[in-house]
Subunit: 306 residues, 2 copies
């Protein structure tokens, strides 16, 4: 993303927010024991290169909602979500899941540290995220408990876990569009939904805002997963390519052109939901627009890797 | 355990508490999707036979502390800990960890459902435990957040995760008694400590009680792990035997006789700590005494399996 595109109209610098997030992550992971392989694996998987799309979206949406609280609280929550995301990537890559050798242009965690360390690092990150939320400053006890509930349910048996199971079970099977869309919701959408409910909780937003953000996150999750599927065989992502060859993705079922149409459909719908609640700013919309334009143009994104 | 030993002096029936715990667990896991392998694996791993030593100890100690709150709150917390324990057993058994074929007299979860389902079921149970704590009735928000923190830290990089890593890394290496003791603390003690801090939190106990329970749990964790190591080659446990053959356990380093002495040392110390804080009852002490006597006699325990 160029410097112009990077600085949004409200003077918000995406690169600056990303740097702040990475600095905060670095501080949070500093107390991992880097003398053990598990500690090193935790640090490496989170602090390596990443788009930081989830924490970035959380920070931007908080800004657009006019969140009045401390920035540290937001960063604690955003970084907890990034740790959960990193844990899910470690597990996605292990031999009995996607069996991926490369991620973000580097050997995957299990390739470098072995499978047992990779699994333990994922558990370490997941629990660190919950510990962190439970100790987050600037939230009352009830808010912290509700944040834990949102995130735990998003990861669990009805969330990412089910998405990953459906994804693996789908390999080699024909599936209809509804099934694939439901799997995409679970693989990607549920964590987007949960993380924005977390922001709405922190901002003590109205029920209407909670609902609109949930609808936005559903669209954005679909959009994000479709772009990821498009990129599997096309863009420079730093990941193993063609990992989706046997999987029933919408790209495989509908073809690239119709998927691009779907992406635009979700983008416009997402945009409307955001416009309805983000009255204090439109940074998120600008960011998504710039990011989508670049990604669909097939350019190598400045914030590369998935 | 005979009926006489099963009913403690205060009229508390251990079998009855165990049944109540299992009934509550069953209710909590009912909403897992038993049409998916992950849901089935979650239910099977928790609802199969087990000693329920952790939730049982939580209920007994709450009784002995004179816990004045609702029983449902205790059961919610105790069952969350049992789910965390079950998750840890699933992961302990997978091929890249202990590679165990049998647990509680049945094929391990990965043997029956495959490795990816086993790992997803473990994550499902872990997050279900946190979701459950976050929604526990009878606790205020701050208590719920602190319970989440206690349990997340007990599982994480400085807790069970580190214990498991040290356990795996120790295979084939000579270790001294202090190293092995520290590993035992992490493998077993930290979750005992955390679960009793949870009870102390729920009971709004004094700082002195928190500390004494922590000291008790440290002794009890050592005692428990030593009995487990003794049983590896000796008792009828329903697990694969001699899994510790290459591991530096205290049984391998000190021999069975000195380990039995150590067990009694920890038992007496644990007993003293309990006596200092459990002024409302002595059910826990009686239970531990009966259980220890039976286990060391090499009898097949009535509540078999580890």
């Amino acid at each position: 993303m160029s410097e112009n595109q990077n600085t949004l109209s409200g003077g918000v610098s995406v690169h600056e927010i990303k740097s702040t997030i990475e600095h905060h992550l670095s501080g949070l992971l500093k107390n991992c024991d880097s003398k053990t392989a598990v500690g090193m694996a935790m640090q490496e998987s989170v602090l390596g290169q990443g788009k930081r799309i989830r924490p970035l979206m959380m920070m931007l949406i908080a800004h657009d909602l006019g969140y009045p609280g401390e920035k540290k609280t937001l960063l604690d929550l955003a970084c907890a979500v990034e740790m959960i995301h990193s844990a899910s990537l470690i597990l996605d890559d292990i031999p009995c899941m996607d069996n991926a050798d490369m991620r973000r242009g580097k050997p995957t965690i299990h390739k470098k540290y072995g499978e047992s360390v990779a699994i333990l690092a994922a558990i370490g990150l997941l629990t660190k995220a919950f510990a962190q939320v439970s100790a987050a400053s600037g939230l009352n006890g009830e808010q912290k408990a509700r944040v834990v509930g949102e995130l735990a349910n998003a990861v669990g048996e009805q969330g990412l876990v089910l998405g990953q199971f459906r994804d693996l079970a789908g390999v080699g099977h024909t599936q209809n569009i509804n099934d694939i869309t439901a799997t995409n919701d679970l693989k990607t959408g549920v964590l987007f939904i949960a993380m924005l409910q977390v922001i709405a909780l922190a901002a003590s937003a109205s029920d209407a805002t909670h609902q609109r953000l949930s609808a936005f996150a559903t669209d954005f999750g679909q959009l994000f997963q479709l772009l990821d599927d498009l990129s599997d065989s096309h863009f420079t992502t730093g990941k193993d390519r063609n990992k989706d060859a046997g999987k029933p993705t919408l790209v495989n079922v509908l073809g690239r052109e119709r998927v691009c149409d779907l992406v635009y459909h979700h983008f416009h719908s997402a945009n409307e939901h955001l416009a309805a609640v983000c009255v204090a700013g439109q940074e998120t919309r600008q960011f998504i627009h710039a990011w989508l334009t670049l990604t669909l143009a097939g350019e190598k994104p400045a914030m590369k890797s998935a």
